[in-house]
Symmetry: C2
Subunit: 150 residues, 2 copies
């Protein structure tokens, strides 16, 4: 795949993650969505459910990891890519580390809660990370949500 | 409570966590157990279920956080203490950070996967941590488990 093709593919899956994020926002959840793709097939779509489930562990990425493992029948996501609209937090980065997922793509950076600042070594050392895919849309969704709640 | 009374209390709850860890080991899981106590009442007991559930997120602490929030009817564990037989990993430390739990007590340190090395800032800044409670028993259980699998 050329770099341009890769970017197009990444944007396509990030749009799916954005649809999930919008569903979260519509349900009163912080609007973050995630999709896991395995060899060209979407095997999990999820969004933040912390309010609905009353559970701080119910982030989009955590739901997606559990759903993907369920779909694959195995707990390691060794042939998968995770797309998530916002940079993962330390909890999610730690979970992604355990899953041995080789690639993570995120939209907007999270300077306050992102793993880059708080848990830079939580991921598996061989995992590659691409940030900034559809960054503006991902960030805007978050900003609109928090503005509407003030 | 005097320091001595606190230590006795901590050891009593850590013994409960050890019972959970033993149950995990008997089920073929890495033997780690956790208990959450809220104002003198045990509100969650859990053990590692990653193999049984085929899910890397099913650590003892994660199960305990979810169960405790369920029991309390709210997602913040602001009056609770978590007891866990082994130092939490970055994922669990991140989840404990989100839960705003004010105190964490663990048994054996984990130099390879513990949050102290890999995610030292994942916890809430006001959370206090006590390590080394019933350390020998907690470590021995892990060593015996891994030795028996070689």
């Amino acid at each position: 795949m050329t770099q341009e093709e890769q970017l197009k593919t990444d944007e396509r899956y990030m749009r799916m993650a954005l649809v999930e994020a919008e569903a979260a926002g519509a349900a009163g959840e912080i609007p973050i969505g995630a999709v896991i793709v395995c060899q060209g097939r979407v095997i999990a779509r999820a969004h933040n459910l912390t309010e609905t489930l009353n559970d701080v562990t119910a982030h989009a990425e955590m739901q997606a990891i559990t759903a993907a493992a369920n779909e694959l029948g195995g707990k390691y996501l060794t042939d998968c890519t995770l797309y998530v609209t916002v940079e993962p937090c330390p909890m999610c980065a730690g979970a992604l580390g355990w899953s041995q997922i080789p690639r993570i793509v995120y939209g907007a950076a999270d300077d306050k809660r992102g793993f880059h600042v708080y848990a830079p070594k939580a991921l598996h050392p061989r995992t590659t990370i691409s940030g900034g895919i559809l960054e503006e849309e991902c960030r805007q969704l978050m900003q609109d949500f928090f503005r509407s709640r003030r």
